[in-house]
């Protein structure tokens, strides 16, 4: 068995008194595509956001390539995370947000070049070349000089995907990438994600698009009340769930199916 890229041990997260993640153990191997599903408030977004430290874990360890991130600090199991270490982690673990989070004062091309210039220290010409390549890949080669505010939601999200891809992350996190899109724009974004799956990229996707999760994922996780309730192949979890809780969740989604 190969060493996982990412290993999470006993991950805990509190928001004040609210216990959101209750000791999660989890690992990601190269090439895995993991879909995380669950009701709102189940902690699935928080879990994903802990993996690139958009949220700071309250306890437990996250290790990249077997090397735990941060240093132990204090007695309660909390860790201290130096900025330089977090920046390195975030370079290797990219993220696509529900709200795109593009930089409105920069053109599409500048958005994608930004990380290459400031974080990777690439030269302008090389950064430009890579950014153009990634934008062409997501079908936006003709929008290089547009500002994000002039694009549709689906186009903005594709720029955000190109921006994350340009950094050449080893793992890509998608936090409900289609949840703020109009229904007719969901398809164009999912097609891009599907294309990345065909390239064998390692990805984690938090989503409500169960149909897409079924076709996309190599593994599906049902998260409820801050713990992994059920983990398995898409067929196991989405077609033949063993847990009553999972069944109830899926039924709510298929209630109006046809």
């Amino acid at each position: 068995m190969t060493e996982p890229i990412l290993r999470v041990t006993d991950l805990q997260k509190y928001f004040g008194d609210l216990h959101v993640l209750k000791g999660i153990d989890f690992s990601v191997e190269a090439g895995e595509r993991i879909a995380i599903i669950g009701g709102s408030g189940s902690g699935k977004s928080t879990f994903l956001r802990c993996l690139n430290f958009m949220e700071m874990p309250s306890g437990g360890t996250i290790a990249l390539d077997g090397k735990p991130i941060g240093k132990p600090h204090g007695r309660d199991g909390a860790r201290r995370y130096p900025e330089s270490e977090l920046c390195t982690v975030r370079e290797r673990v990219g993220m696509v947000f529900q709200q795109f989070n593009l930089f409105p004062h920069m053109t599409v091309l500048e958005n994608v070049m930004e990380g290459l210039l400031t974080v990777k220290g690439m030269r302008n010409a090389a950064a430009r070349e890579r950014a153009v390549r990634e934008l062409e890949k997501v079908g936006l080669g003709t929008k290089l000089d547009a500002y994000p505010g002039k694009l549709s939601g689906g186009q903005q999200q594709r720029v955000a995907i190109a921006r994350a891809l340009a950094m050449e992350p080893e793992i890509l996190l998608f936090d409900e990438p289609t949840s703020s899109l109009d229904p007719e724009l969901v398809g164009e974004v999912l097609r891009v994600i599907r294309q990345l799956a065909d390239e064998g990229r390692t990805m984690l996707l938090v989503t409500h698009e169960l149909g897409f999760a079924y076709h996309f994922a190599t593994k599906v996780i049902f998260l409820a009340d801050g713990v992994f309730h059920e983990v398995g192949t898409p067929d196991d979890v989405l077609k033949n769930p063993r847990q009553e809780r999972t069944r109830a969740f899926l039924e709510r989604f298929t209630e109006f199916g046809f």
Partner: protein
């Protein structure tokens, strides 16, 4: 009412008023520069998670925002020499009064601009692996600047009008010069109407320039 307007006295002392206008522009310009420096310092102190920086900054801002400006003119001119055994000339005392007080107001403008930038912008930059200093310089401040611009200009106009208080320290600003001309000509109606219009022309010109600059800053919207 059969008042006969007579501007001949004003015309004859035009040179005095012009010197006053130049001095008003000078003191306003210098106070804006120092005020911005004080304001930036206070804004970053107040934004700091370290309480030994944020608490004094908050106290300073509240003190200067909630006191009448003229007190600070008197304080730097009459009170500081008692405390520190230095006496300031009217110009310096007025610059200190204006830049500390407007610094307190600028600080809130700058801080407001920075905190108004959506959480997603910070996260989008962090997720790329940018350091705090990089994301401030490349992502947050450029956007915050465009939002700060209008309130910054507003505040600077306030400051420019407040410079008239420097006349109470016998600094030769536009108002002080007007008082001189008035004491020579006994034509208060003409004199004070004239300088009021001079303030209007000064600030309307400045606001036109500001609008042009703002249109360029916000071209991406």
């Amino acid at each position: 009412m059969s008042y006969h307007w007579d501007f001949s006295g004003v015309w004859s002392r035009w040179d005095l008023l012009l010197t006053g206008l130049v001095n008003t522009v000078k003191i306003a310009g210098i106070s804006i520069v120092f005020g911005v420096i004080v304001g930036l310092l206070l804004a970053f102190m107040k934004l700091s998670p370290r309480r030994f920086l944020s608490v004094p900054a908050t106290a300073f801002i509240e003190f200067y925002r909630n006191t009448p400006p003229i007190i600070h003119f008197f304080w730097f001119y009459y009170a500081l020499p008692v405390l520190a055994n230095v006496s300031l000339n009217p110009f310096l005392a007025a610059v200190l009064a204006l830049s500390t007080q407007s610094g307190a107001f600028y600080a809130e403008v700058f801080r407001g601009g920075i905190v108004s930038i959506e959480k997603g912008q910070w996260e989008g930059a962090r997720a790329l692996g940018m350091r705090h200093s990089q994301l401030m310089r490349r992502i947050i401040l450029p956007q915050a600047l465009t939002r700060m611009f209008a309130p910054f200009v507003e505040r600077s106009f306030e400051l420019t009008k407040t410079t008239a208080l420097a006349s109470t320290l016998a600094y030769a600003d536009l108002l002080y010069q007007a008082m001189l001309v008035n004491s020579e000509t006994f034509r208060p109606l003409e004199v004070y109407t004239t300088i009021a219009l001079m303030y209007v022309i000064l600030l309307v010109t400045a606001s036109t320039l500001a609008r042009v600059a703002e249109a360029r800053l916000t071209a991406y919207r």
